[in-house]
Amino acid sequence: MLSGSAPRTSAAAQAPAVRQRRKHHLWVLYFYGSAIGKKAVMAVTGIVLLGFVLMHMVGNLKLYYPDAERHLNAYGEWLRTFGEPALPHTGFLWILRGGLILSFILHIHAAVSLTLMNRQARPIKYQGGRSYAAADYAARTMRWSGFIIGFYVLFHLADLTWGNANPDFIRGEPYNNLYYSFERVPVALVYIVANLLLGLHIYHGAWSLFQSLGLANPRFNQWRRTFAAVFAAAIVIGNVSFPIAVLAGAVDEPEHITGEARLIEHAHTLGTAAETLPGVTFHA
């Protein structure tokens, strides 16, 4: 029943747009073609990225070891040599990187295509404004936080992996690179702000992935929020503490102790050349 007189309009004028979907014969493409499929891919790739972010933060806690420089550089060397001789040099590292790059690309592709789908679903916004009853700031800024994290990752690689954004970069000496990078206040600020945004992204993401994968159960539902909050807090506190520690002078200046430097020192005490030690090869 309608109050007031609704004009008779043609059915065509009232018909909403229907999104036609191509029927892929390949199962994966058909699966990924659905929004719930994409969301499951986002959740799984999100879990891979969460695992990486956690390991990355925990690995860097070596900054607080006594003799931090040796530990951190040795850790970097370990990542490059792990799995040898079954795997080639940096083979293990490239397997990890391959998984991460794939996850990152899929995560971003799904995020972009779902965002476009969602834009189309409400072409005309509320003209009188809208209020939010439940969606928190983290949830509402996922696209912004994700987008900025994407650029931050590129900067981070240029700064500490490739070295082209870091004038003090020495290949194979992560401690040196990290120290001189964080010593520059603007760079430290980039790291701090980006990690706060990462924390925001995780605060929603690590909760949301349970819903996306259909993991709801009254037994543990209340812990999903706690899990996400604790995860986000751990990442933010860990990662933000590193530039602050360097700026505060709580971390020693680099002495250029690499695995190789240690060997040379060791050879020196033995009174021989390092190259003559058994099993030693130097990487250029």
């Binding site: 029943m1 309608l2 109050s3 007031g4 007189s5 609704a6 004009p7 309009t9 004028a13 009232q14 018909a15 909403p16 747009a17 229907v18 999104r19 036609q20 979907r21 699966f31 659905s34 929004a35 719930i36 499929g37 994409k38 969301k39 499951a40 779902l114 789908m117 969602n118 189309q120 679903a121 409400r122 072409p123 005309i124 916004k125 509320y126 003209q127 009188g128 404004g129 809208r130 209020s131 939010y132 009853a133 439940a134 969606a135 949830a139 509402r140 996922m142 929603h204 909760w207 949301s208 349970f210 819903q211 996306s212 994968l213 259909g214 993991l215 709801a216 009254p218 539902n221």
Partner: protein, 263 residues
């Protein structure tokens, strides 16, 4: 003791789907606060008709919160400020004398505006047609208790079945997604033994039709917060789970029917 309120309404007026529409401002003086929001609009409309003007079009039927016909956005919130109520159940006592109230229709590509506050919710019917039914044996009616259903399961299915299909979830969702509606309709049948034969085909077909009209879910929880029937987003998780399970199932068993997999 009831009071009288003098209000100013800003109401979306749109002659038809092709019209661009704009807000119109109306004085609503001497509104008894025991009235529902729709009764308040009735009073405004009678005055408009008396002045020879076009009354404000809005959808309604039962006026007791069970049919799902009514619904529009009041001050940026579907069904207004009171949680767990439809606009037909929303009383004017929740407003104050002198309030300015903005009233706007649901906004979604899938819900074109027919006139003023009336939208077409036909895509909801399309979703139901895709799988919101069960296959029942014909012949003599079976004894009501011949299929035993655990009480918690029956309760949960009933919670889902409480959905009145008003569309507030779509209206509230920043993505214009219909996940809460669709998941409630799926869960209502997928939880019960009678719904098992079509369980997997139901979820895949209904989701497919849903996604051809609506947005996707970012787990904002806005839908749950405005739902007049308090439908939980747990049903969305359940729909996702059933959908993912269906996708990983033996294709031949997806067709459902008596030979399909009832697990």
């Amino acid at each position: 003791m009831s009071k009288n309120l003098n209000l100013t309404l800003r109401v979306w007026r749109q002659r038809g789907p092709a019209d661009s529409g704009a807000f119109g401002t109306y004085k609503a003086d001497g509104i008894n606060d025991d009235m529902s929001f729709l009764e308040m609009l009735d009073v405004v409309n009678e005055r408009l008709i008396g002045d020879g003007k076009d009354p404000i079009a809005f959808d309604h039927d039962c006026r007791e919160g069970i049919c799902g016909s009514c619904g529009f956005v009041i001050d940026g919130r579907p069904h207004g400020p009171q949680p767990g109520t439809t606009v037909c159940q929303l009383h004017m006592r929740h407003f104050n004398d002198g309030d300015d109230i903005t009233v706007e229709p649901w906004r979604a590509a899938a819900f074109p505006i027919i006139k003023d506050l009336v939208v077409s919710r036909a895509p909801f019917d399309k979703i139901i047609q895709a799988g919101g039914y069960i296959s029942a044996p014909t012949g003599a009616a079976r004894d009501a208790n011949s299929t035993l259903i655990p009480k918690p399961t029956a309760d949960l299915a009933f919670d889902a079945a409480a959905c009145i299909g008003c569309g507030a979830c779509v209206a509230a969702c920043p993505n214009g997604a219909a996940q809460l509606f669709t998941s409630a309709k799926i869960a209502h049948l997928n939880l019960l033994p009678q719904g098992q034969p079509e369980r997997w085909s139901r979820v895949t077909s209904m989701v497919e039709v849903m996604e051809s009209y609506f947005g996707s879910c970012t787990n904002y929880r806005e839908c749950e917060a405005v739902c007049p029937k308090g439908i939980s987003i747990d049903f969305i998780a359940k729909m996702n789970r059933d959908f993912l399970q269906a996708k990983f199932r033996d294709k031949k068993k997806l067709a459902g029917g008596p030979l399909g997999d009832a697990g």
